[in-house]
C-alpha cells in the first residue's frame, strides 16, 4: 500500500500545482490519473494550443505549462499512479482515507484532493432499450481483445475512426461483421473509408449506411440487433456481439458515488478552503462548483493554495501553521 499525506486525484495543471502548495507546508502528495501521462486536458486535448491567461506568461503552450509545473514540483518529490482510475474511496475509523484504483493499487492518505477536471472520459452510449441489460452479455464499448470475436457475428455501430478501424480489422477475425452508420459517408481517414467500401463491395463487410440501432434481442445473451433505415425499414441482424463506438464523453465516474454533494456533475465546495461536505476531502479546479465559479487554470491555482492551508490541519493536527513567502525562505524541500 502507498502511504502519503495527500492523495491528489487528477494530474492536470491544478492537481500538479497543489503538490507545490502542499510541499511548502511539508505535506507529501501522491497523484493518481486515469490518463497515462500528466497534464490532464492540456496534454490530452490541446497540447499545442497557446494559453493566454496564465499570470506572468503572455502566451504559453499547454504542453510547456505542464512541463514547467512538473519542474516546479520536482523538489517536493511527488509520486504518481498513472493510467489508473480511482474506483473506491473509504474513510477508515482513524480518519485516514483508503483509495483503490482500477488496477487494485491501494493508497492511504490523510487528505484527499479531487482535481479531476472534466472527470473521466467514458464511452458514449446510444439510447437503446435493454442496452444495459446486455452489457457484458454481448454489448461491449471497447475492443480489448479482438480474439474474443473470433468466428463470431458482430455488429459495430458508429462512423468515427475507431469504428472504421475496428470494422476493417475484425473482418479478418470474426465470422461476420456488420457496420452500422447513421450517414451515407464517413468523415474518418480517407484510406480507412476506402477500405471499408472495398470490403463491403467484396462481400466481407455488411455495411448498413443511413441506418441506426433500433433494438436488441436475446435470451440471457445477445442474439440479434434490429437496425432501422432512414426510411423506417427494420432489419434483423444475427449477432453474438454489438460494439457501439460513439466516442468518449466526460463523466464524473465513480466520484459521484463517494457521498459528496454534487450539482450538475460538479462537486459543491465551501469557498473558505474548497472543502467538500466530507471532512478531509477537498475539490479544486474545473471539477468543483460554487457561486461565481470560473473554470480557469488560474482560479484552480488559487484554490490549491487555500486548500493546502486547510489540509495542513488534517495532516499535522498538533502543529501550528505559520505562513511564509517563498521570497523569504525559498523552497525548502523535504
Amino acid at each position: 500500500m502507498i502511504t502519503t499525506d495527500i492523495c491528489v486525484i487528477g494530474a492536470g495543471p491544478v492537481g500538479l500545482f497543489s503538490v507545490f502548495e502542499a510541499g511548502l507546508l511539508k505535506m507529501r502528495c501522491h497523484l493518481v490519473d486515469v490518463l497515462p501521462v500528466i497534464g490532464g486536458q492540456l496534454s490530452e486535448i490541446y497540447p499545442k494550443k497557446p494559453i493566454y491567461d496564465i499570470p506572468g506568461y503572455p502566451e504559453i503552450k499547454a504542453e510547456d505549462l505542464v512541463e514547467n509545473l512538473r519542474q516546479q514540483i520536482l523538489p517536493f518529490k511527488p509520486t504518481f499512479t498513472l493510467g489508473e482510475r480511482v474506483e473506491t474511496l473509504i474513510k477508515s475509523d482513524n480518519g485516514d482515507f483508503v483509495l483503490v484504483t482500477s488496477d487494485h493499487t491501494e493508497i492511504k492518505a490523510k487528505v484527499v484532493v479531487i482535481a479531476g477536471g472534466l472527470g473521466c472520459f467514458e464511452p458514449r452510449k446510444p439510447e437503446l432499450a435493454l442496452l444495459e441489460y446486455f452489457e457484458g452479455k454481448g454489448v461491449d464499448y471497447i475492443v480489448k481483445d479482438p480474439e474474443k470475436f473470433r468466428s463470431k457475428k458482430l455488429v459495430i455501430a458508429g462512423g468515427g475512426d475507431s469504428a472504421l478501424d475496428w470494422a476493417i480489422h475484425l473482418t479478418e477475425i470474426a465470422e461476420q461483421v456488420t457496420l452500422v452508420h447513421r450517414n451515407e459517408s464517413f468523415r474518418g481517414a480517407p484510406d480507412s473509408t476506402e477500405k471499408v467500401f472495398h470490403l463491403a463491395k467484396t462481400g466481407r463487410l455488411n455495411l448498413l449506411l443511413n441506418s441506426n440501432l433500433h433494438a436488441l434481442e436475446g435470451n440471457g445473451v445477445l442474439k440479434s440487433v434490429d437496425i432501422i433505415s432512414k426510411q423506417g425499414v427494420v432489419s434483423k441482424i444475427e449477432a453474438d456481439y454489438m460494439v457501439p463506438l460513439f466516442g468518449l464523453s466526460p463523466k464524473l465516474g465513480p466520484i459521484g458515488e463517494w457521498g459528496l454533494n454534487i450539482d450538475k456533475s460538479a462537486i459543491e465546495v465551501n469557498t473558505l478552503d474548497y472543502s467538500t461536505n466530507v471532512s478531509g476531502i477537498y475539490a479544486i479546479g474545473d471539477i468543483n462548483t460554487y457561486p461565481g465559479k470560473l473554470k480557469l487554470i488560474l482560479c484552480g491555482f488559487h484554490e490549491a493554495a487555500l486548500m493546502a492551508q486547510s489540509a495542513f490541519k488534517h495532516v499535522h493536527p498538533n502543529q501550528k501553521l505559520s505562513f511564509k513567502y517563498t521570497t523569504v525562505n525559498g523552497v525548502n524541500t523535504f
Binding site: 486535448i45 472527470g119 458514449r124 446510444p126 468515427g160 447513421r182 441506426n212 466516442g247 464523453s249
Partner: protein, 104 residues
C-alpha cells in the same frame, strides 16, 4: 436585439432575446438563460452536452467546422439538423431560428 425560440426538453417554447454585440456563443446564452445544459467541456466541442436540433433557420447558420462535424458524427442520435450550441456564435443570422434542446 437578436430573437430566437428555444424549445426545452418538455416541449415548452420560450423566446430568447439577446443584444447584438454580446460576443457569446449559443451555449453560453442558453446556460445564462437557466437551461439545464451541462457544457462539461466549457465550449471546446468535446462533450456534446450542449447539442441542439435546429428546427428552423439552419440554412442561415455558418457551416459547422471540422471539429464540430467530427463530434456530431460520433453522436448516436444526431441528425442533419444537429449542432453544438457552443460552436454557434450569437449573430443576427440566428434571428427567427428555433432550437430544440438535445437529450443529454
Amino acid at each position: 436585439m437578436i430573437i430566437f425560440d428555444v424549445v426545452d426538453r418538455s416541449g415548452n417554447v420560450r423566446t430568447v432575446e439577446v443584444p447584438e454585440e454580446i460576443n457569446l456563443n449559443l451555449m453560453e446564452v442558453l446556460k445564462a438563460s437557466e437551461y439545464p445544459i451541462l457544457a462539461t467541456c466549457g465550449g471546446m466541442a468535446l462533450c456534446a452536452t450542449c447539442q441542439v436540433e435546429v428546427a428552423q433557420g439552419i440554412e442561415n447558420l455558418p457551416s459547422p467546422t471540422d471539429v464540430e462535424l467530427d463530434m456530431l458524427d460520433q453522436l448516436p442520435k444526431a441528425t442533419s439538423q444537429s449542432r453544438l450550441a457552443c460552436q454557434i456564435k450569437i449573430h443576427e443570422n440566428l434571428n427567427g431560428a428555433v432550437f430544440n434542446l438535445g437529450a443529454e
